[in-house]
């Protein structure tokens, strides 16, 4: 019995998976082990699933731990299914209670939490959310290299980037970011005025770019840009984890949202609970007064 950490080659969250694994191993009182498939071996869902299935059957871990990355999303549920288990995904905390692990995971994009108990015999499968288990300086466990040995059905080509980015949000000292609270494309000037008053770049959450109201290159988050300006104003953005990972390193964060329970307030330094269509114009005036 052990805790097996799956290390995604070259991924920045590998250290976070190890932190989680270390913590779970200590709580369960079992040793920590790790495995990886080297980066020069092409990723396919079929190949990775088969390699890790063989390894897990041979070593029978109590718990298999992943970072909740896009690659994990693609194959870890297949692996868990082979053991007739659910991948308890995107967890933010864990404890051992009456001998079995209980994981905390968010529901409704962070609006509520849930405690999920892994019941029955292992192996159980769990992936951890970005930022929940920060990497620490510690000795790495022995890491076994695995090799995919099946003929995969998927035939992947080389990854590529759509185009060079015309807007580099990472260089902006101040960013005004707009979310679905803006309701309509025709309302974008409301936040543009605030950006102008602050000398800020305008950015957005994903749904705004999906709808074509702002170009893709202004998207902040896991599938957009990661920014760390000295001031980030989130206007009508709920604060889903995929948005937070792209901006929570900002020095000062301001949230404007009509829902006092919106998860964005958890990462904010300052907040205004209210209707953005009243608050933002008032803010434009206040900024202009302060600057003149």
């Amino acid at each position: 019995m052990s805790v097996l950490v799956v290390l995604e080659a070259g991924h920045r969250m590998a250290g976070e998976a190890l932190t989680a694994g270390r913590q779970f191993a200590a709580a369960l009182g079992v040793p920590l082990t790790a495995a990886t498939i080297p980066a020069d071996l092409t990723y396919t869902a079929d190949g990775f699933t088969a390699a890790y299935e063989a390894h897990a059957r041979a070593t029978n871990p109590a718990l298999v731990v992943f970072a909740h990355t896009y690659q994990t999303r693609d194959w870890a549920p297949k692996l868990a299914t082979r053991f007739r288990k659910v991948l308890i995904s995107d967890v933010i905390a864990a404890r051992v209670d009456s001998g079995s692990p209980v994981f905390v995971r968010q529901l409704f994009q962070g609006k509520l939490n849930s405690d999920v108990r892994a019941t029955g015999d292992g192996p159980h499968f769990v992936s951890v959310q970005a930022g929940a288990f920060p990497p620490v300086e510690a000795e790495a466990p022995e890491t076994i290299s695995l090799t995919p040995a099946v003929e995969p059905r998927q035939n992947p080509e080389k990854p590529f980037r759509e185009s060079t980015r015309a807007v580099d949000l990472t260089a902006a000292p101040v960013i005004v970011s707009v979310g679905r609270g803006i309701k309509d494309e025709g309302n974008i000037p409301v936040v543009q005025k605030l950006a102008d008053a602050l000398g800020a770049e305008l950015a957005a959450s994903r749904p705004i770019c999906d709808a074509g109201w702002l170009p893709m290159e202004r998207q902040v988050g896991s599938s957009g840009q990661t920014v760390t300006p000295k001031l980030y104003l989130a206007v009508g953005i709920s604060g889903a984890i995929q948005h937070l990972v792209g901006m929570k390193g900002s020095k000062t964060i301001v949230a404007i949202n009509q829902d006092p329970n919106a998860p964005i307030f958890e990462v904010a330094d300052y907040g205004i609970v209210g209707d953005l269509f009243e608050v933002v114009p008032a803010l434009v005036e206040a900024v202009q007064r302060a600057k003149s």
């Binding site: 007739r84 509520l112 108990r117 992947p156 958890e266 209210g274």
Partner: protein, 251 residues
């Protein structure tokens, strides 16, 4: 082409959500429901593929009786028929995918689409598990779908603005990312036609016991104390700017 779209009915966005008295799920009194957003994009993609390649689009939804509203909505947008897997329980992803797989095994689908995750449970895996149970290849977080006879070429979203094209044989399961197309609205004609379209109701076998049991649903504890300004917009805005200028020193 026979395309199946698995949709989930979830509480409407911006619903006010409270834990149920049981503490095991949310209080469902007064909630409105809608099609899970990424599933709506999956449905749209299926309809566009049918327009290009011909064939049939079938929507399948596991859920209580009210799930039929969402199936009707999909039929009104243009799906040809529906399958309602009737179940009242809050299921885990393996239980749901097992019921869907059982209901779909005899359909001989060419392609199964579903959203990449649900807005309620958010496990992000029903599609992948369904693929595994049906022994179909799968790919996730899909932003583009092309079909050439019996080969599928898809564009998968990677992190930080990267993409990757992947080929695989049909039949296959894809999980669709929001924003890969533009959603259509149901027309009046579509709504009228939907009334006479078939919805097959399937009573699923009792699911195997869950190995991931929700024991408690609760409001997250606030850990960071943001300074919140309330009151009228003008006062709040003035107070905020003061703080940004003199405390945070970012103006």
């Amino acid at each position: 082409m026979k395309i199946i779209v698995a949709i989930k009915q979830v509480p409407q966005r911006d619903s006010s959500l409270r834990p149920a008295a049981s503490g095991l799920w949310v209080d469902e009194a007064n909630l409105g429901y809608e099609i899970n957003e990424p599933d709506a994009y999956a449905l749209e993609e299926a309809l566009q593929l049918r327009e290009k390649h011909g064939g049939e689009v079938i929507v399948v939804c596991a859920g209580p009786e009210r799930a039929q509203q969402s199936i009707r909505e999909a039929l009104a947008k243009g799906a040809d028929r529906g399958i309602h897997v009737e179940t009242d329980a809050v299921l885990d992803t393996l239980q749901t995918a097992t019921m869907l797989a059982d209901a779909l095994r005899d359909e001989t689908a060419d392609l199964i689409l579903t959203g990449l995750q649900s807005d309620d449970l958010g496990y992000g895996q029903t599609g992948v598990v369904l693929a595994e149970l049906l022994d179909f290849p799968s790919s996730t977080i899909i932003m583009q779908v092309e079909i050439d006879v019996d080969t599928l070429r898809v564009r998968r979203e990677l992190e930080d603005g990267w993409f990757q094209n992947i080929e695989m044989p049909l039949p296959a399961v894809l999980t669709i990312q929001s924003g890969l197309n533009k959603l259509r609205y149901a027309t009046l004609m579509g709504i009228k036609k939907a009334k006479s379209k078939e919805i097959r109701v399937v009573q699923p076998a009792a699911p195997a016991a869950s190995t991931a049991v929700i024991e408690k649903v609760y409001a997250p504890q606030k850990s960071k104390q943001a300074q919140i300004f309330t009151g009228d917009a003008k006062t709040a805005a003035t107070q905020l700017v003061e703080k940004l200028k003199f405390e945070a020193r970012v103006l």
